[in-house]
Assembly symmetry: C2
């Protein structure tokens, strides 16, 4: 039972690592050139501070997720990993939400502020950003599951065990 649990845990961590890695790669490599009248503009992630924040945070978490894969099961450092999971999940949630907020304006625009949607001009770029955000969402969900599982194991919040 403990072995199955350990394998499931490692599998989830590996999936989270793969999701953050693909989010970074897809977001960082997506670019498209568009012409407005005589001006040619290249759409890429560095144009929006929220997308830059997304790439930085997801890169850091990718490195962290990779290192954690090699931590032995008996290590006492797993307690530190719970605390680090908490901090990094906050950062993931934060950068993901900021990126989604900006992507939403990019797709739908905002008529009150006279911000026009840009996805008609750079459709491929928009599709790739959407892909990166989906991978980012998967990573966020997995990290939240890992965290809630840790909390459940350690604190027993639903009072299932007898004292």
């Amino acid at each position: 039972m403990a072995k199955i649990r350990r394998v499931c845990h490692l599998l989830l961590r590996f999936l989270a690592f793969a999701a953050t890695l693909s989010a970074v790669v897809v977001m960082a490599t997506s670019h498209e050139r568009a012409s407005f009248f005589t001006v040619s503009v290249e759409a890429k992630y560095t144009n929006a501070p929220a997308f830059k924040y997304f790439v930085i945070v997801y890169s850091v978490v990718t490195v962290y997720g990779f290192l954690v894969l090699f931590l032995p099961a008996q290590s006492l450092l797993w307690r530190l990993v719970v605390a680090l999971d908490l901090v990094f999940t906050m950062l993931l949630v934060s950068s993901f939400s900021a990126a989604v907020a900006i992507a939403q304006v990019g797709k739908k625009g905002n008529s009150y502020a006279a911000w026009l949607p840009i996805c008609d001009s750079v459709p491929k770029y928009c599709d790739r950003v959407t892909g990166a955000l989906i991978a980012g969402f998967v990573a966020v969900i997995i990290y939240i599951i890992l965290l809630l599982h840790s909390v459940h194991t350690v604190i027993d919040p639903l009072l299932l065990r007898k004292n």
Copy 2:
């Protein structure tokens, strides 16, 4: 010692409650009318989905923070509170980040996407949104402190105690 700790804890929770409440009130009541050529537009929080999300999440957390203030110190439900703190802090971080991302575009604009800043047209509205975001930031910080304190107490991640 336990009593001082209990008072500090309650004080922090009360501050978090006050911060989320003021964030909601300031964000929800801020509006300003501006005229572009012949069109009159009212800037208010319902114009941006990210601000609507901010108001909804902060309202829910305000109610939660109010209820937790009345939980007796001996209650076993404090374990459930740790798990709920985790979920609500994620929601706070998420809505705060999304609102900041949109507010940043509102203040600075984005020249690549041809989104113009709107703060010159509605300066008072911008100031009030900034105020709401500052209160929101304070609430996020307090909830993260409460969470890290719970984790520290229960899991001892820095391995300070001898086994």
